[in-house]
């Protein structure tokens, strides 16, 4: 079996002392940062990214991936105990997790989310192992036009399916593409939009961008609303679920994992949408939908399974085609490229120990998370008792040092500050920053493939429709754009309902 020998190689790589240590460190730090309210997985990954420059590529990726799914895991703890989602995708967990905590079932809710996360994550990894090799075979046949079409589709899907109105998502993607244009032109080396700053000649630093948009602006937004009650201690005994509770959760978990895997694989759509979708589905299939929002176990099991399944399957397009499955994946791609590795269909054959080592580390990381979350839950609860006004100055210092250390230059700190102000402005005006990051990473790749495709077709735009793959995807892009415009027009003409903004 090919898969067996590959997994053997993977576990061999992942069980090396170095990688094992960084996997643990990543999962631990990720859970730690994820537990902190207001700081999500994106901010966590961008904070750890500069540190990984000092590691080997495999260790760097293993650690970053650990931070990523660790933060997703940790996010649910703050949601259940304090009704403060640590990550946007954990906002769904608040809906039923916090009522459970109020009924004194916090321990049970935490245990159940751990189970659901583990099951969802495992389903996602199995799919990743099965589909990634197949997809990378398909992707080998891709030409420049096909890449252009896939990436364009990913961009539009990212924006159209995100929360809020599709047009606002698309406009953020386009802004990200333009920010990605800043710096020297790929082919001619011409200076683009640098405004005379020679530090911008190599392009905008992805770390400064991500720290500004997600770290700094999240801190500014969460300082005001940080008044809260310290949570009660959780005993191990209180975590044991009621009899029959686990058995009744099998179907919700299965549905959640299926929905999550699907949305994770779609380029550009992430866990948030998967979690919201599976909650909606659970409520629809339930015979007692009135229990939802009042502490229904299904209401936390299904979204948590979906969320973690999506976190794993998002690696499929990222590693096989070099197209980020979610905004966090855009940062992973950035990390790969900084280490001089070109993500794409060749990655699996040219760097098998990196790919399979990473997959094996997902298994190890998932087991580590269960170990970290069940016996060590008291530690995470204690972190939540540290007052926020002592936490955020420390986080700010970490952000500043992290941004500074990339180039040992204060220019990037100023840049991060500028993006922090931009990100906060976007937040106030109701624009989402995640599509911007996807546009920023995909923009230059799209330009490269677009120019190559046009060069080969002698500038004939219609040639993009000659190949079946690109023609199909471009048709889907057109559908997405038309749908976005239609919903914008419909929203403008219809009398709107005054629905409250989801807390971010």
């Amino acid at each position: 079996m090919d898969l067996l020998s590959n997994m053997a190689l993977g576990f061999q790589t992942a069980f090396s002392p170095e990688n094992l240590a960084y996997c643990f460190l990543g999962v631990f730090l990720g859970t730690f940062i994820g537990v902190l309210p207001g700081i999500g997985a994106l901010a966590a990954v961008s904070m750890i990214l500069p540190v990984t420059f000092y590691l080997s590529p495999t260790a760097a990726l293993v650690m970053l991936a650990g931070v990523y799914y660790g933060a997703e895991y940790g996010g649910s703890i703050a949601s259940i105990l304090l009704n403060l989602p640590g990550t946007p995708s954990a906002a769904v967990t608040c809906l039923d997790g916090y009522p459970m905590a109020q009924q004194g079932r916090a321990g049970e809710a935490l245990f159940m989310t751990t189970v659901a996360s583990f099951v969802g994550g495992s389903v996602g990894i199995v799919l990743l192992m099965g589909f990634a090799p197949l997809l990378s075979q398909v992707a080998l046949a891709f030409g420049a036009a096909d890449y252009f079409a896939v990436m364009l589709f990913g961009l539009l899907a990212a924006s159209a399916i995100s929360q809020g109105t599709p047009v606002k998502g698309i406009v953020m993607v386009v802004l990200g593409v333009l920010i990605g244009c800043i710096g020297a032109d790929l082919e001619t080396g011409a200076d683009r939009f640098t405004m005379g700053f020679h530090n911008l000649f190599d392009g905008v630093s992805i770390i400064a961008l991500a720290m500004g948009l997600f770290g700094i602006s999240e801190i500014i937004a969460s300082i005001r609303g940080s008044q809260r009650q310290p949570p009660k201690a959780i005993t191990f005994r209180s975590m044991l679920p009621r009899p029959g509770e686990l058995k009744r959760s099998i179907l919700p978990m299965a549905r959640g994992a299926t929905i999550g895997s699907f949305f994770g694989t779609l380029p550009g759509t992430g866990q948030t949408i998967a979690a919201f979708m599976s909650y909606a589905v659970e409520k629809k299939v339930s015979r007692t939908p009135e229990r939802f929002g009042k502490g229904a176990v299904e209401g936390i099991m299904a979204p948590e399974a979906a969320n973690n399944a999506a976190a794993q399957t998002a690696f499929i397009p990222t590693l096989t085609m070099g197209i980020p499955g979610a905004a966090t994946m855009a940062l992973m791609l950035g990390a790969l490229m900084i280490h001089g590795i070109t993500p794409g269909p060749m990655l699996m054959t040219s760097q098998p120990q990196l790919f399979w080592g990473l997959v094996a580390s997902f298994w190890i990381g998932n087991v580590l998370l269960v170990i970290l979350n069940v016996p060590l839950i008291g530690l995470w609860v204690r972190i939540l008792t540290v007052p926020y006004h002592l936490l955020y100055p420390a986080i700010l210092v970490l952000i500043c040092i992290g941004v500074y250390s990339v180039n040992n230059n204060v220019f990037d700190v100023y840049l991060a500050l500028a993006f922090g102000v931009i990100g906060y402005t976007m937040r106030v005006l109701g624009f989402e920053p995640a599509p911007l990051l996807i546009g920023f990473v995909l923009g230059p790749m799209i330009e490269e493939n677009f120019r190559r495709a046009m060069l080969m077709a002698r500038g004939d735009y219609l040639s993009l429709f000659d190949r079946p793959i690109s023609a199909t995807l471009l048709a889907l892009c057109a559908v997405l754009v038309l749908w976005a415009l239609y919903s914008a027009v419909r929203q403008a003409t219809r009398r709107p309902t005054t629905e409250p903004e989801p807390a971010s």
Binding site: V174, I220, S405
Partner: protein, 147 residues
């Protein structure tokens, strides 16, 4: 509630301005043709799309009511000032003074901050940063610059 969606109107306006700037700058570069694209071709397309979308957002905002944008000025100003102070102090005095000024200015954002805990936090972070970043990771940063 407002009669128009002020948030989208402001957002659309800001994005339009940005788009116009990007379009203007890309047209100043060599644009080229679709066969041989110059550096300005692709940004020109993207800037055009940004302008079109921002117009849609701004115009549609006039026909529906929306929420008043809420800015928390105190955290915004003090967090920005603290990052700015990090950049300036880092350049002239080194890492530890930069950490102290960042923490102290950032603490002003929250009314619950007290003098002594803030200073203790700053001191603790100085030690932690020195051990972690300079001793362990070997990042080339000066703890304090002596002139």
């Amino acid at each position: 509630m407002l009669r128009i969606d002020l948030r989208d109107l402001i957002g659309g306006g800001l994005l339009f301005t940005l788009g116009a700037w990007f379009l203007f700058r890309s047209l100043q570069m060599h644009v080229g043709t679709s066969t041989a694209m110059g550096p300005g071709y692709y940004p020109m397309l993207a800037a055009g799309a940004l302008i079109a979308l921002s117009v849609i957002i701004a115009v549609s905002s006039l026909f529906r009511p929306g929420d008043v944008p809420e800015v928390s000025w105190r955290p915004l100003v003090s967090v920005c000032a603290s990052i700015l102070s990090f950049a300036i102090v880092m350049d002239f005095l080194g890492l530890m003074p930069a950490i102290v000024s960042t923490v102290v200015i950032a603490a002003l954002a929250d009314r619950r901050s007290r003098v002594l805990p803030t200073l203790l936090l700053a001191a603790g972070l100085c030690v932690a940063a020195y051990v972690l970043f300079i001793s362990l990771l070997g990042m080339p940063m000066q703890p304090i610059k002596w002139y």
